[in-house]
Subunit: 257 residues, 3 copies
């Protein structure tokens, strides 16, 4: 199985599929080709949520604002999975989520790509196909890969709390408009049914969107386990006027409605 | 074969695929993940058009504004097909279109899902995979399912006509901008080549978009057999200023152009 | 292998897949369903880039503004590939790119389609499936196809140069906002590191987007080998205020920055 993730939109991912299908009969599964564009941190967040759901696979990941520059090409083995992509940190959070503590990083030869602007097609797709067919072990024996400890990583900002005041950061906004923060759900779990002060509004904290009337704002715990700012049948990012990178301050312990 | 339909956008559907691929080697086919968001009636309309085109399959359908509430989880057997999703009515119109008069509804155990906000991943995806592997018969024998006659359905609004005046409702707007109504095509078929009055404009009734000059409005019969308000190489929804739920009054019998 | 390309958005492509899967177990690969809407030339450009990357396959292509009119239904054999779609020229540039000089065009019987507005489902999908199963040879012997030399083609506009002045046309804008022209990359390759005058601005000519600071405009050679107007981590189409069909005049030989 070989999954594909990118920020390419359409139709560039199809070029990668064509290249891959010359080299392998693997089942191909699209994860997403609308990852937040050239936003390595947001892509890492999403892939950390989604890739651990898969059975063992090779995961091709191309979010690569540095295409054509000196950044390395890497394969990250995480348990029985291998992630292939640019060495800009995007692979590490999902790899750690797949197999905590069981992670090896390899640098691959980039070869002499046909273009300087589309390494998804010219470098990463053939490499992912080769890893699927040969595995990193054989490729290491063949000299195509070399282990390294000097690889890029991405760290997400850490939330803080002091008494009832929680300070977090919006990491991504999903397609429903939910503003997903870095605040762990268990920081608010015992306040379910109550409310929080966010800016100058009192916002109910609830387990489900539908606990509120349509178009009412709420704070909830998303499927990723993080606190999100949401609106039942609406867009939390608009109601709270926040986007990726924005700070969020929640004062817990307000009485419920 | 297992098809997937949702209003999730990206990348949440990939999490469902990962979960499914842990449980089955079935061929997966994406129907759509951009069904009108949390609009159960519009989703039912689209799936009624598309799912009957498929050979026998398990159809996973997640348009679920009531996620996390008390709504049931159901499987609907329609002939050799099974639809799996929330009991909010979205499954019934496509099931009736697949196998009119041959429909059995089962309630499934919801179990103890990991999240309250993403039952697509935590409840429906594993259930659809299990139905694919075991069938509803075996699951019924195993006690995982129970037949029910108390299930939700969706009824589409009925169009009316009185003499030459037809009153309908826009059900959905497709990606081309065609405003698709609930008026059956055969109500206007004998007026092809003529025109209708819609609001204060005279609109040609034609078999094909290209029968009109580019950017000219027309009334036609779509591939679903319903009357639609369209513009050749343009967006009917904008030319007629209508959207889902809006009333449309057409006076037939105007002379053609 | 059977690939699918259209300008249908969603969910209409799923109806085509259902029809196809009734007739063949072929691997299905989506190329794109968001090709520029009803823009035959832009679709031909993209497919010329992407389809040659695939191993031998049947390529179903439905960008068909003339649906329901007298336009023919054609299959184009290009080497070991076959392209199936409307006879509006969209198939010929990709066919020529797949197998230059080895191209045969066949007209197919259109039959009596169920609709006048969705030949993707009613005509092209079953035909592509039949070609996948039987090949054009057998279908020609069966009388379902007839060779023709009278088929539509699309010619792209030709760029011009006179001394240091290059005159081109924007063919398409990709999802990153890069404005891709018809100017061949080798016309500017020896100016890499220098700059060009475009309108009243001096624009660096570089091998990679990341050679410039974020949000800086540049001219580069895209993965298709054509000159493109781009912005590092931004949208070239907006910075240069150009879209498909617009003229671009570049005066080369300006000194670099």
């Amino acid at each position: 199985m070989l999954t594909l993730s990118s920020d390419f939109g359409s139709p560039y991912p199809a070029a990668m599929k064509g290249v891959i299908l010359h080299r392998t009969d693997a089942r191909l599964v699209d994860v997403s080709h609308t990852l937040p564009r050239q936003d390595v941190r947001a892509a890492a967040f999403w892939l950390r949520q989604v890739l651990p759901e898969f059975p063992p696979a090779v995961h091709l990941v191309v979010v690569d604002p540095g295409v054509g520059t000196e950044r390395d090409v890497v394969a990250v083995r995480a348990g029985d999975h291998v992630l292939v992509g640019p060495d800009n940190g995007v692979l590490v959070p999902p790899a750690r989520a797949i197999a905590p503590g069981d992670l090896t990083v390899y640098v691959a030869e980039e070869g002499d790509p046909e273009s300087d602007t589309f390494h998804g097609r010219d470098v990463f797709a053939p490499l992912a196909a080769d890893v699927h067919e040969g595995g990193v072990d054989r490729l290491e024996r063949d000299g195509a890969f070399e282990r390294t400890d000097a690889y890029e990583t991405i760290e997400f900002p850490r939330p803080e709390r002091e008494g009832d005041v929680v300070r977090g950061t919006v990491l991504v906004v999903d397609d429903f408009g939910n503003a997903i923060t870095n605040v762990p759900g268990d920081w608010i779990e015992h306040h379910l049914g109550e409310a929080a002060i966010v800016g100058d509004r009192r916002v109910p904290i609830r387990r489900t969107y539908a606990a509120l009337d349509p178009h009412e704002a709420l704070i909830t715990i998303g499927s990723h386990g993080n606190v999100e700012l949401a609106v039942n049948r609406g867009r939390g990012s608009e109601a709270f006027a926040v986007g990726p990178g924005d700070a969020v301050v929640m004062t817990l312990g307000a009485s419920g409605d």
